[in-house]
């Protein structure tokens, strides 16, 4: 069985400050990892994905994530957030032959 745990349900952050969203996963086989963003009343948009190779993955809108196999983590970071980054962020994983499994989400609220 595979699972994803997002350790923070809400993260308030001031504009232009850095943010880190934590994601831990559990799987007995190799996985692919994803971060999606969901703006209010919209569908999910892919921010970035880790398939193989470099453990530091860069995505859209200035986000990056680091895959750490020993710690089974895939934390998302942005060095300086904007008001427009206010949204819900979902970590997800997929293993061969299995469905895409999502974490519970982290709601980011950027304050001016």
């Amino acid at each position: 069985a595979q699972s994803v745990t997002q350790l923070d349900s809400q993260v308030p952050v001031f504009e232009e400050a850095p943010v880190e969203l934590r994601c831990n996963y559990s799987s007995s086989v190799s996985v692919y990892l994803f971060w999606y963003v969901q703006y209010p009343n919209q569908g999910l948009q892919l921010l970035l994905k880790y398939l193989s190779g470099s453990t530091l993955v860069k995505g859209i809108n200035g986000f990056e994530a680091e895959f750490n196999k020993s710690q089974t983590s895939f934390h998302l970071r942005k060095p300086s957030v904007h008001i427009s980054d206010t949204a819900e962020y979902f970590c997800a994983l997929k293993a061969a032959g299995n469905k895409l499994t999502f974490g519970g989400g982290t709601r980011v609220l950027v304050k001016p």
């Binding site: 569908g43 398939l51 997800a92 061969a96 974490g103 519970g104």
Partner: protein, 116 residues
Amino acid sequence: EAEVAQSPRYKITEKSQAVAFWCDPISGHATLYWYRQILGQGPELLVQFQDESVVDDSQLPKDRFSAERLKGVDSTLKIQPAELGDSAMYLCASSRIRGGTSETQYFGPGTRLLVL
């Protein structure tokens, strides 16, 4: 840029009524997914199609939910009868490659259902 289309965007219905949601995936995408997202949670897969065939409907409550993709293009998800607990966002997604584990899923805007 091609997008996944869904309609309606919002639906309010009374319990025991029937509701239907429609999804048109990105052109050429072989795989289509329906997810249910309860408020405050991540999406959960209801059903996955490969062309017109169902490949995973293990989480679909088959006593009241049905899904079809007759010509392997657009798809309809139906609930009959609707129950209060069905209130959620219903998301459709599609991906290009058949059975591709690493293939990105592209999501539509969703249909928000409220059952009264």
